[in-house]
Symmetry: C2
Subunit: 247 residues, 2 copies
DNA sequence: CGACGTGTTGATTCCTGTCAATACTCGTGG
DNA sequence: CCACGAGTATTGACAGGAATCAACACGTCG
């Protein structure tokens, strides 16, 4: 396990970077203490599979640091990413025995895990957890439906712009961005982007470079992206103007 | 309001056809009584819009009878159906002020509505409701992700077969189907199917008739579908064989 | 260096969208 | 009764966007 990753593990919940956004967000001090007793940290390196589809789920948990994907695979190998996992996102489904998706770390990742059984028992007794989980699940459902529009109705170019827009927006909110060009690192390979967008990696490559040629984005290396004009990007994504607000 | 629809309104919760599957499924008699005080029925005719995207949500509720869709529309008119509403499905999002999707009745529909504020207050005091809603939301999230695979990675033919397969499966479970050919009525127009599948209505028409020519399905009129061999249909949908189990 | 993973670029194919014409069903009204 | 129109569905011709197949560039690691 890399030293770098270990350094990212919070000493206690008070230090935890996702304390106020994760499934524990609404917990009081005493509830947090109970959670603390059943939690443990695990680290994964980029590319590692966290959960295999069909396997028994031993734990549920939150992404503390890093980026992951939920993917579904057809028999013939066609793949679709059905969810992005960002810090504070919840992994696993209480009440279900086996995983339905592959969960893969796309960057080095730290997870805050809870053994499934104790967590389920605690959920029954702790409304704050169940309430927060419901809220988060509803948000994820909205995100999934938003993505259905992207997959079903947008062109390749709009799909790429949509993905960039989402990552840019997340980055801007996390890093308290204040005007000016947005800059961020794409946490996904071309192939992962293709699997997210329902495209081939060749098309992803072509469209990214087209957006670059036309000045919608700038690239340093293959992954470092600068967005000089966010509204322009939103336009390319086919979103209405106010959809791009950094609310 | 049509007499036919009024006849579908349950006299009391005990008579309600969705009593054991809706958001009230886990409620005890006393809880049901409380719900009863804030509930009322509304009926909608085929084609009627139940909720407009962006409007203030006055109520949440359950589909008692009928079929509806959740749709999202882009400025230029491109549309995507992001959810099917079948009996027992829940409409509305507690904790949110305005609707994010259009909700449209595609057949004559009966809804069991709760004024939003009282329902939210009751949710806080009644864990059984929140628990059930969480479960239902998790199921919807799974369905949405399943659909992302359909939208992102399946061919037009597979998309049509997937839709037929889903409707057939639902029908088989509702009507206690016991072997032999499955028969059902498509509750959607070609256009609605196209909007669900991310296709044009012309492509939908062509693929349906292709499946008919090749004997995968039979048609009486435009909407009445017979599936002589469900496994064959599952195969055409690109699902693995066990995915077609009527579990 | 060579192998491998990742990304770019080109040539070609083909699936699906687009545009257009036609049929069918159902109600309405002359 | 039939004409008419609106909504729904089918079918054909054609074009275009993305997939496919293929070659090559770049960086890293053993």
């Amino acid at each position: 396990m890399s030293k770098l990753l270990v350094a990212e593990i919070p000493r206690e919940c008070g230090d935890c970077p996702i304390r106020h956004r994760a499934v524990c967000a609404r917990c009081e001090a005493d509830e947090l203490e109970l959670l603390d007793q059943i939690k443990y940290y695990r680290t994964y390196e980029a590319g590692q599979t966290i959960v295999w589809s069909g396997d028994r789920m031993e734990f549920v948990g939150s992404v503390v640091k890093g980026v992951g994907t939920l993917t579904q695979t057809m028999e013939d190998g066609r793949r679709q990413v059905v969810g992005l996992l960002l810090p504070s996102d919840f992994v696993g489904r209480p009440g279900r025995e086996t995983a339905t998706y592959d969960v893969v770390a796309t960057t080095d990742t730290v997870m805050c895990c809870f053994r499934k059984k104790p967590f389920e028992e605690m959920m029954v007794r702790t409304p704050h957890i169940a309430q927060r989980l419901l809220q988060m699940t509803l948000d994820e459902l909205d995100a999934a439906r938003e993505w259905m529009l992207v997959l079903g109705r947008k062109t390749a170019r709009e799909k790429i712009a949509s993905l960039l827009s989402i990552v840019a927006r997340r980055d801007a909110t996390l890093n308290l961005h204040a005007g000016g060009p947005i800059e961020f690192e794409l946490p996904l390979t071309r192939e992962a982007m293709a699997d997210y967008l329902g495209l081939t990696l060749e098309t992803v490559s072509r469209q990214i470079n087209a957006l670059k040629r036309e000045g919608v984005i700038e690239l340093k290396g293959k992954r470092q992206v600068t967005v000089p004009d966010f509204d322009r990007l939103s336009e390319e994504a086919g979103d209405d103007s106010d959809g791009g607000m950094l609310s």
